[in-house]
């Protein structure tokens, strides 16, 4: 499943310690794109 793979990859890269700027850079996508994909796949930073 492409959506599952995309969500898994984003989650993995975010776990850059949830630094969105660095994560977007590593994933080679715009930060806005990363935001919208996190929203789409409901990826949230775990509560501290």
């Amino acid at each position: 499943s492409l959506p599952k793979a995309e969500a898994a990859l984003i989650q993995k890269v975010l776990e850059t310690n949830w630094n969105l700027k660095r994560a977007a850079s590593r994933l080679e996508i715009a930060r806005g794109t990363l935001y919208s994909k996190m929203k789409k796949y409901n990826i949230k930073r775990p509560a501290l």
């Binding site: 499943s1 492409l2 599952k4 793979a5 080679e28």
Partner: protein
Amino acid sequence: MTSNIKLLFVDDEEAVRFFFREGLINEALEIETASDGVEALKKLKAFPADIVITDVRMPNMDGLTLLEEIRMRYPDIFVVVVTAYGSIEDAVKAMKAGAYDYVLKPFDFDTIRRVIEKITGHKRILEKNIFLGKEHRKGYRFENIIGQDPKMFEIFRKIMDVANTNATVLITGESGTGKELIAEAVHFGSPRRSEPLIKVNCAALTETLINSELFGHEKGAFTGAIAQKKGHFELADEGSIFLDEIGDVPIPTQISFLRVLELGTFQRVGGTRTLKVDTRVICATNKDLSHAVKEKLFREDLFYRINVVPIHMPPLRERKSDVPLLANHFLRKYCTEARKNILRISRAAMNILIRYDWPGNVRELANIVENAVIFCKGREIIPADLPEELKETTQKKGFTLGLSSISLPLAEATMIRKVLEETNWNLKQAARELDIARGTLYSKMKKYGIEKPHSGD
């Protein structure tokens, strides 16, 4: 050549369609044509084709997708695919997906005629009520054995060839493949059809009982033998005896078997009189008897004596194109028994059945469909009606992606390309595997510049 055969020819080139129709105009064929898979499916709603001959590479819907659709909707239609030289992988893929045969481009009409003749012969066996043993009260016919796969067709031919002889037959195959049905077809197709077919499960007989069961015993032969008893061989005199699980017969009994097979003579347990019978012997086993011979578990001379005409029943996983046919047969059978009115097996449920490997073969499929019929609440069997373990084992398999960086676009493009290659660029199937809409797949292919490699046809 043939009569009343309805043929649908599918090719995107108008000239090819014209020449095809012209080339076969003198044959007793009813020919319709279509320019692609979508038009072909529309035509099939009104034109009950017996045979569909389709090109593989076509716009809108390619031949392989059309083949899948036909196997799903019209499992009785014989599909032949036309592939170009150099794209033999298309032919392999088509055969795996249930095509009856393939022809290579540029085809000549002699080849096409031969294929149609072959299919017509197969249809005749399947449909023209060839009774194997008309006099028998069961009205045994080939329809009792369901299969459209070429492997099954070869078995039907072999049965027809061997049934009228007295030759000993050894039926091999995994458990649940239908070996007993083949034994019945051989017996009821033979001149002995009005005489009994005695079935013996050798695995169910203990070593102490097997001689008495097979050859009978005299009164007082052993404790409890209060009367004379005829054995299975005697009961099968002038008929046939079916020895199932012959590989489980102990060595001492194998020697007695050899004597019956060679001379037709034996003695009852506790008796001194030699009896003679005229019995046709049909054996079956799910074991590798040649291996058992090497291991000294089965007598070599007996093996050669029973292996006169070997018939191997393929496991269901090797004839998956028969799964829809069998599943629909069992659906009708068990709906009648349970007095339920279930119209069909849904596409999603059928996909699960097709993907499963059926270790228990046809018997397992029958059990699964019977179970689904019992628990089905609606008008069609859906995945929820199937056992969980069946769905779990058929779930899409995972895979590993190798990436030079963790870039999301790179991962996406790599994954799309990999799945397209694995599905032989069948966009519908690839989109389904990737869990995205076909339109989304098109736009992503465009975005990443992914194109099918030119194959030269």
